[in-house]
Symmetry: C2
Subunit: 321 residues, 2 copies
């Protein structure tokens, strides 16, 4: 079996490889060739940790396995290591034997960034010029970097609950040679694409903060109770997601479903747009909204890609298991 430690991932994995892997697996999910298993998520009553497993199987890519790990909120303060800790295990679908073990921390950031990026490619207007960021933490930098590779953006605008973090966004804008401007939420009407990436439990972005024709990628809501945007925005938008079942239960759509602003039939798979079985955006003044909840298959897809890259570059550790 092969091992790719966390420390190798940064040199191996590219945003392009993550994008391609996520786009492909979203398509496989929509065509029924790939599916996610029920998620296990447990508050284990030790170190306030959340621990669990996200597994799945992609019959098209022959990728089987799981990501295991979770959130250890005291890691950084107590031990100087990051709070999110995860590992991906890939299995041989022909035999059930373990095939690879891959550090999952950076991969999780990259696959989450790739998801909003895939949604921009398939749902944003081709002439999108201004990208707006709601949220400016560590993950926001990943989202913005990946997003700027889609289309020809000319400007980045951003808002964060703690404005002192906005230089994070400015840094990424500068890397891409783009101007950055801090705005109020009302200023988000200037954006053609908006990414929300917060850990909010209340709607931050309101329907009237979003101009007609905008594509909104909501990437922060992955738990019951979390919320980033007003349900009225979902009512106005065409809503897409990675996985409908997660979107309506733990994703951004949970609230609009609960208050009956939208119906479950109103939530479509982004993969169907990729496959061409859903038309996606049909006019320049439509609002499209992608509810990115994060699925195990994304983790497996990027992990499988990085194993291939590690083998190619000779850095995979081989263990006779």
């Amino acid at each position: 079996m092969l091992i790719v430690p966390e420390r190798e991932i940064a040199d191996l994995m590219t945003r392009k490889a993550a994008f391609d892997a996520v786009e492909k697996v979203f398509a496989a999910m929509a065509s029924g060739e790939a599916y996610n298993f029920p998620v296990v998520r447990e508050a284990i009553g030790h170190e306030d940790a959340l621990y669990g497993f996200k597994g799945g199987f992609d019959r098209a890519g022959l990728t089987l396995g799981l990501k295991a790990g979770g959130y250890w909120p005291n890691n950084l303060d107590k031990r100087g290591i990051i709070n999110h800790q995860s590992t991906v295990f890939l299995f041989d679908p022909d035999t059930g034997k373990v095939k690879a073990m891959v550090g999952g921390n950076l991969l999780t950031a990259l696959r989450t960034a790739a998801a909003s990026s895939v949604s921009i490619k398939h749902l944003a207007r081709k002439d999108a010029k201004v990208i707006g960021m709601v949220g400016a933490g560590h993950q926001a930098k990943f989202q913005l970097r990946a997003a700027l590779e889609q289309g020809n953006f000319e400007k980045v605008i951003g808002w964060n609950f703690h404005p002192e973090m906005l230089p994070n966004l400015e840094e990424v804008a500068k890397e891409a040679g783009l101007p950055f401007e801090a705005v109020e939420l009302t200023g988000m009407t200037e954006a053609d694409v908006i990414i929300t990436i917060t850990s909010s439990f209340d709607a931050i972005l309101h329907a009237d903060h979003v101009a007609p024709g905008t594509h909104v990628a909501c990437m922060g809501t992955d738990t019951k109770g979390k919320q980033e945007v007003e349900t009225a925005l979902l009512a106005r938008a065409r809503v897409f997601t990675d996985e409908v079942a997660q979107s309506v239960s733990i994703g951004e759509a949970q609230h609009a479903i609960q208050d009956k602003t939208i119906k479950i039939e109103d939530v479509a798979q982004l993969g169907a747009v990729i496959n061409g079985t859903n038309p996606g955006r049909t006019s320049d003044d439509e609002i499209t909204l992608f509810d990115g909840t994060g699925v195990g298959l994304q983790d497996l897809a990027v992990a499988a890609a990085v194993v291939d890259l590690a083998v190619e570059k000779g850095v995979a550790i081989e263990v006779d298991f």
Copy 2:
């Protein structure tokens, strides 16, 4: 992190170590210090395989992780490798980092054998002399070997749907210097302890095949629909299990619960007997029945034990992950 490959397990793990680990974790489950996570089990639609995850956390032993793998029915015929394939992954409960990866195939056989053995120690009559086996396949040998280490058995009797497999049992009896006798099911009344270890979907052992005072360990039923003994036997017996929720849904007790022969309150945890909070057997003519369904914590417990042994003997592979 540490790796203990499948090939090392046979030389490392002892029946004694498996017994101690399983007894301890059953006790921790009953005291509330250890719990199993929801089981994921998927027919993945490839190679007719069943694949899934059994996880748990033992706060007392600080053992966190999962067993991943399943059943690949074509492995033996197509590839000459065993059909059950599993791997155990242990995590550091303080940080969420992966700690060890351990081959799970032999461990699964040993922990299943240890479970009926623990039930015999705590529930069988101390003067038990005759042990009866219903089932004579590969796993039956493990069950019998472990059982014979409890008490002072003088004779082994056995029945199997395919009598040509009975020499499996005779072989183990001989190892222990005991006589073996093939019997009809009606002959099981001679036994003081009976272990059922089949993959039956119909009751094999009837209530009138079991004499008063017998301890019965039902080890084969781990899925909806499987059944080894008549529900009338559960009605006559005091019923114990590893985990009540599994026992009444996928274990031997599922049928007696469904036909209302017994109530869920009639099923007690074996761990409570180990802890002394349940008296266990209270007379010499009571029938006790242990419904062994198999839980993730058993796998984690034996895997943690084998990692310690591997470190002690210097055969654990250390990988800088």
